[in-house]
């Protein structure tokens, strides 16, 4: 026993700070967030469901919940499609590949908050989209893109697409490069055309990369915060901005904690469920 301690004391001392830190500043806050969410705002009774009941009575919260789910579902699908498309282009295009690659990956080096600024210029009421549509003769009166209807939803999707597609592109490029040339050649020899080579060879071999892209993107998409806060504010709330405004504008940490806790549960269930389905499907194929 003594020898064991002598041997591993150094290692223990080296690891401890990291885990203590994460315990103190991630573990404890999470616990305290959950406890807050189950504490009655008035009587301070614990445990109580009142915060959650109050949340579901709030129209704004239900809207935020649906917006988050829709944004994640539609957004992640679009981003994966776009990222795959761009990666395929980079894989095929010979002329000027480095230039194209550098340009399409630039959004990685642009802070999200700045993405918000740029899309405000594009979709503000005196923005450039309105002006372009006016000059093309499509519009006479400017459209208010950010008032919270389906168009606002579209603007958010476009802004997110701009910012995060490069991440998917990187994942897909790595996936494409791992596909052996010989597999595609063999398919070509057997008479497969371009489309069926893509559908029956490339796409199945890209499955691990696709799974990874969906998981990585979905985790972040559920937590979307800066873009809706900047572009749409309360016109189009999501769970993140809703939780923030409950705390900041209404000084109600209890409902804010409940909304944040629900967001955590949604992320865990969403990612866990997706991975479970993918593993099961993989087993069926194998």
């Amino acid at each position: 026993m003594r020898r064991f301690f002598q041997r591993y004391t150094l290692h223990g001392v080296m690891v401890l700070p990291l885990f203590l830190y994460l315990l103190a500043f991630t573990g404890l806050p999470l616990l305290s967030c959950l406890m807050l969410s189950f504490t009655d705002a008035v009587s301070r009774v614990f445990p109580s469901w009142n915060n959650y009941l109050a949340l579901f009575r709030l129209g704004q919260f239900r809207v935020a919940l649906w917006n988050t789910l829709w944004l994640t579902g539609v957004g992640v699908s679009l981003e994966v499609l776009a990222g795959l498309g761009v990666a395929l282009v980079l894989h095929r295009v010979v002329l000027g590949r480095t230039v194209v690659r550098t340009i399409v990956l630039t959004p990685l080096g642009v802070p999200t908050i700045v993405t918000g600024v740029m899309f405000m210029y594009l979709f503000g009421s005196t923005g450039y989209t309105n002006e372009l549509l006016y000059r093309l003769g499509v519009l006479d009166t400017p459209v208010d893109w950010l008032m919270g209807d389906w168009r606002t939803f579209g603007v958010l999707l476009l802004a997110e697409l701009w910012k995060v597609t490069p991440v998917v592109t990187l994942i897909m490029l790595a996936g494409l490069e791992s596909i052996p040339e010989s597999a595609l050649e063999a398919a070509a020899v057997d008479g497969a055309g371009g489309w069926s080579r893509f559908w029956y060879v490339t796409l199945p071999l890209l499955r691990p990369a696709l799974t990874m892209a969906v998981v990585i993107r979905a985790i972040d998409a559920f937590r979307i915060f800066e873009l809706p806060l900047m572009l749409t504010g309360k016109n189009l709330p999501v769970l993140g901005t809703f939780a923030y405004s409950e705390y900041y504008d209404y000084n109600n940490p209890f409902t804010s904690a409940a909304a944040a806790s629900l967001l955590l549960v949604i992320i865990a269930l969403g990612i866990g469920g997706y991975l479970l389905v993918m593993v099961r499907r993989q087993e069926e194929i194998a």
Binding site: L108, V110, T115, M120, I267
Partner: protein, 269 residues
């Protein structure tokens, strides 16, 4: 050129244009007079250029306090993250496979947690402790986000250093601490540098924790957001560019190391 190739080039062109147009507009607004940008019919080209917004950025005095705070917080976060995560990552890298993957998974999971859930209790607690609006408070919060990432990158670095090297040094009579200091850490230095740059970037960009933990002392991203909420297009543009340029430079330098995994939790809307 065949029809199919044309489609590929067309797709590439679309992606390039979609990426560049917002960036161009940001630049254009930062050098346009109000008569060209904040009107019902803004112009698309660069007609009259003005350096007025840039002059205002540098001389109005609103830039320096947030810049100072951002720089200091990012530096301390970087140092803190490297100091805490480097030794830990070394040990994790030397653990048996299953333990190692368990720990990495735990680190990854801690990056999946919604910030609004952590920032809320942290903000409530820091208000009591008087840590709101301080650099220390924000560094402590940024470490929550940065530590798992840095540890993760460094585990990968230490894995590439063969154990045999350490054993050889020990056979030659080197003490265990001296092995770390003279053999392992020098070999890991490039990886540590990359991890440090990622840490700096994450802290410089960070918005959510800063929003919860600042009342009067803004960071640069908060200052940009402040101008957006006030509707000052030109200030927002100059601040946004000022915020972006260092990020672009560092990201370009890191391009070789940009693995999609590292970006999980870092690139979100």
């Amino acid at each position: 050129m065949t029809a199919r190739e044309l489609w590929w080039y067309g797709g590439g062109l679309l992606a390039v244009v979609y990426t560049l147009v917002p960036l161009y507009l940001l630049f254009k607004i930062s050098v346009s007079p109000p008569t060209e940008a904040l009107t019902p019919h803004p112009s698309f080209g660069l007609h009259t250029l003005t350096g007025e917004h840039w002059r205002l950025l540098l001389t109005s005095g609103t830039l320096w306090p947030p810049l100072g705070k951002s720089v200091a917080v990012a530096l301390w976060t970087m140092l803190g993250a490297v100091g805490i995560a480097t030794p830990a990552a070394y040990v994790l890298a030397r653990l048996p496979q299953t333990w190692k993957y368990g720990c990495i998974l735990a680190l990854f999971a801690s990056r999946m947690v919604p910030e609004v859930g952590i920032a809320l209790p942290v903000a409530v607690q820091f208000l009591r402790w008087g840590l709101v609006d301080t650099q220390l408070g924000l560094v402590l919060a940024h470490l929550v986000k940065v530590l798992p990432l840095v540890a993760w990158i460094l585990v990968g670095t230490f894995e590439t250093i063969p154990v045999e090297l350490e054993e050889a040094a020990q056979v030659d009579g080197c003490h265990r601490l001296a092995v770390l200091r003279r053999v392992v850490f020098p070999l890991a230095a490039p990886g540590v540098a990359v991890a440090a740059l990622f840490a700096w970037l994450e802290s410089w960009n960070e918005f959510t924790y800063a929003l919860y933990l600042s009342l009067t002392e803004n960071t640069l991203p908060l200052q940009t957001y402040y101008y957006v909420t006030r509707g000052s297009w030109f200030d927002a543009a100059t601040y946004a560019i000022f915020l972006t340029v260092p990020v672009l430079v560092v990201t370009a330098g890191l391009q070789r190391y940009l693995k999609a995994g590292y970006l999980a939790g870092a690139v979100k809307g």
